[in-house]
Symmetry: C2
Subunit: 489 residues, 2 copies
């Protein structure tokens, strides 16, 4: 296919492509801007660079830079600004990247590092660079790499996921057949563009010829204003964002242009969804991963109210199956499934079944009508007295309890039951924990083996950059407590 | 990709798939119905048939039959019911088809033929057949043939165009990015389903999971009622349909669900489009062909009012170029471009340039902003005194003249000028032709060499099944008059 940016600059030159803090670039202006940066980049990194890194923030500068890499046929390696420097370096070295651009908004955090490491530069360092005439690629070939991002991988070392243009294209197509499309759509992007949740919004914009409203960070007050007064059609959210927006929901509702929230990243509790329903806020639950370039499953508008808790049905280009009986690991086959991991094709192939389906590592089940329910991560699931316990299920039950801000359930070895559930709880301000009544509450709602044996109050639970609760990090952060519990049991 | 019909029966089981004369089949019912027919077909034609023919009309029976062939992996050969029997037989033999089903609505015309030719059957003959369990194909492979239809080909013998599932898929995707999509969309199909204009509506329905309102034939009064009172979102029209609907346009307008007419098949005069604009009726001009599985170029909503006469810009997956200078033959490269002609790959390859672009045989030009204007068929163009004359341009100027129902301009050999334009005119009832004032009118609007030398009144001008004026047929039908003119010049 023709280079998407060039194509949209021809097809929809005057349609807004990017909106940021009141400034708008239409597709023609976006192309001009990006090609100008591509010229500077050519001067700076030369013409034969295969890959370059970016530590992006949600700013136009990062947005342009990612697109500029693509325009030059340079594979953008999207590094997560929230990682520790040693982690970043491991990823940079794995990707054999010699030049990494850091968004200037991250100056404070990265100033020393940029100074002391020859591979890192601030994007603004390009400002004073003269421009070489860039060699823009004329077509976006199906199997060419459009982006590389490292999975936050709950186990083992992170993998550089090789996302092709074809992967992004089919992801966008699968989404459009579910969510519909109006040519004046604008998608609010408050999720990080270095994650697939954000990058896929950018890619959809290039494919659909529609606009992105980019915000630098998630500020619920500011975003509520945008939703109320600006032409926002869709917004991608993770559960924690949705909860905060819900609290600020204006009595007059959002702007009439608003169609729906697309909810991903993690399952959400029924209480929050029920509350959205009561207020008439459309929320489309979805399920996807870096390896599938965003959504593979989503609810549709018609089913959303009656299927609370389900992430929906496999999108049009996607096939899903569950490998053992009623509840089991979800396997996927789709044109948006990536071809592999950088420098670890074997690691990727290990996740493929003999007939080429990708084992997601997620456990779920289909109901009678074909709606998918996610139980949790395979590696988070544990067995207690011969029964499967999915931490996520237990967590969702407790999410409704007043005073609990966030709860993480993990399995702790136990002589009698194999493992038993323990809960780590982050409380809301000025709340107190009453373990006895929490247990009682659990007994009412859950099978007894699912009820946590103890509730341990902690200051803060670890989350991924995407707001997802990270059980492996819980284990790591509270390893001492856990070791002590192990001994006791 | 998964079998589209099965997929939609899972994804959108209760959404209307087909509406016909007040009856509705949702996707689940459509699948059940089609699979039942597939079972009967299996019994009737056996399991190893590669291709089967259908002389379809716009009825559910034909609709189901085409889908049933696809479900079995049998290539449907869509024959045009308006062809002479000798033409049909030539196509049937070319496609090596042994069984052709004829829609029962065509009983009158085909009764004798079905009786006397062992290859032809009425669809109703399946009614009493028992059902074998059909072997339904589980996936619609990209390069598998989804449909074969013969081009009406203005020159030479007709070609069986091999349309793959991938071709249909990308055609549908190109369309959706231009026209947008709402999941409750319903597309009114009054164009023949044995043509790509109609078949592509069926395929889009399977791909989008949206509905088709099928009508047995073009009845402008009935269709105006549907447009006014039913949930119609889009309707494909050829110019002659649009003109008739325009005359009946209700003062209250159409139903609020109506988004636009998609106009194809032939260029339309500015007067008709201007009149639509005045009435606030949205018309999206488009350009496509059997070899590209429908549209490759279309206007978008925003540009439609200011670009009257243009067919728009190449759709997202499509690339177009014009091979010589400003005006020339349009060449296309697209994933919806078919791979070839049945039994005549050489004939198809002849139409490809050295670098693999398809020469459409249409002449056009892009304006400064990249909008395509079609001048006419390359083989209809002629040279008069060293200047190119495009019959279509001349015809459009005369289409506005009161009393003229249809006009065909062709080049007649001339000793002095090489060729000169002559017009064949079909008059409206009770109208008379005044050649002198018509010439005068032409002189005002056109360069002198484009003005027809004579206006010849005829009873009826020949059209293709799609309502397209067929210049080669004009030459054929009026060959005696033309031979006489040749002698005179």
């Amino acid at each position: 296919m023709e280079n998407w940016l060039i194509k949209q600059a021809e097809l929809a030159p005057y349609r807004p492509a990017l909106v940021y803090e009141g400034r708008t670039w239409n597709f023609r202006q976006l192309k001009t801007k990006v090609h100008k940066i591509a010229g500077k980049l050519t001067h700076f990194i030369g013409k034969s660079v295969k890959r370059a890194g970016i530590i992006a923030d949600n700013t136009p500068a990062s947005y342009f830079m990612i697109l500029a890499f693509q325009q030059l046929g340079v594979q953008p390696v999207l590094l997560n600004c929230r990682l520790a420097f040693s982690e970043l370096e491991r990823q940079r070295e794995d990707a054999e990247v010699l030049v990494v651009f850091v968004d200037d908004l991250l100056k404070k955090r990265f100033e020393q590092r940029v100074k002391s490491n020859t591979h890192y530069y601030f994007i603004s360092e390009l400002d004073s660079i003269t421009s070489d005439s860039p060699v823009i690629i004329q077509s976006f070939e199906d199997d060419k790499i459009a982006s590389i991002m490292y999975t936050s991988g709950t186990t083992g070392h992170p993998h550089g996921v090789l996302q092709t243009f074809r992967n992004h294209f089919f992801s966008a197509v699968g989404s459009v057949f579910n969510l519909g499309l109006q040519i004046d759509d604008q998608w609010l992007c408050a999720v990080p563009i270095f994650h697939i949740s954000g990058l896929s919004i950018m890619m959809r914009s290039l494919i659909y010829g529609t606009g992105v409203i980019l915000v630098p960070h998630f500020d619920p007050v500011k975003i509520t204003k945008l939703l109320a007064f600006k032409h926002v059609s869709l917004m991608s959210v993770v559960p924690i964002m949705l909860k905060q927006l819900l609290e600020l929901y204006p009595t007059e509702g959002y702007n009439e242009s608003f169609r729906t929230f697309l909810l991903g990243g993690a399952p959400i509790d029924a209480a929050t969804l029920g509350s959205c329903q009561k207020k008439g806020i459309s929320v489309i639950q979805s399920y996807g991963m870096t390896e599938t370039c965003s959504q593979v499953v989503a609810l549709n508008f018609a089913d959303a109210p009656s299927k609370i808790g389900s992430v929906g049905k496999p999108l049009f280009p996607v096939q899903l199956r569950i490998n053992t009986g009623k509840i089991g690991e979800i396997e996927v086959k789709a044109p948006n499934l990536v071809k592999g991991y950088l420098n670890d094709q074997a690691g990727f192939n290990d996740k493929l079944t003999q007939d080429g389906w990708f084992r997601t590592g997620d456990i779920g089940n289909f109901d009678k009508e074909g709606f998918l329910f996610i139980k949790g991560r395979k590696d988070e699931m544990f067995i207690s007295g011969g029964e499967n316990v999915f931490p996520n299920e237990v967590e969702n039950v407790y999410a409704k309890v007043a005073g609990i801000k966030e709860i993480a359930v993990i399995g702790i070895p136990d002589k009698r039951w194999g493992q038993v559930p323990y809960a780590f709880v982050e409380l809301q301000d000025h709340s107190k924990l009453d373990a006895a009544s929490l247990k009682l509450y659990g007994r009412e709602k859950l099978a007894h083996y699912k009820v946590p044996q103890a509730f341990i109050t902690v200051d803060k639970l670890p989350r991924t950059a995407n707001g997802k609760l990270k059980h492996s990090a819980v284990r790591e952060q509270f390893s001492k407590v856990i070791a002590k519990l192990n001994k006791e049991n």
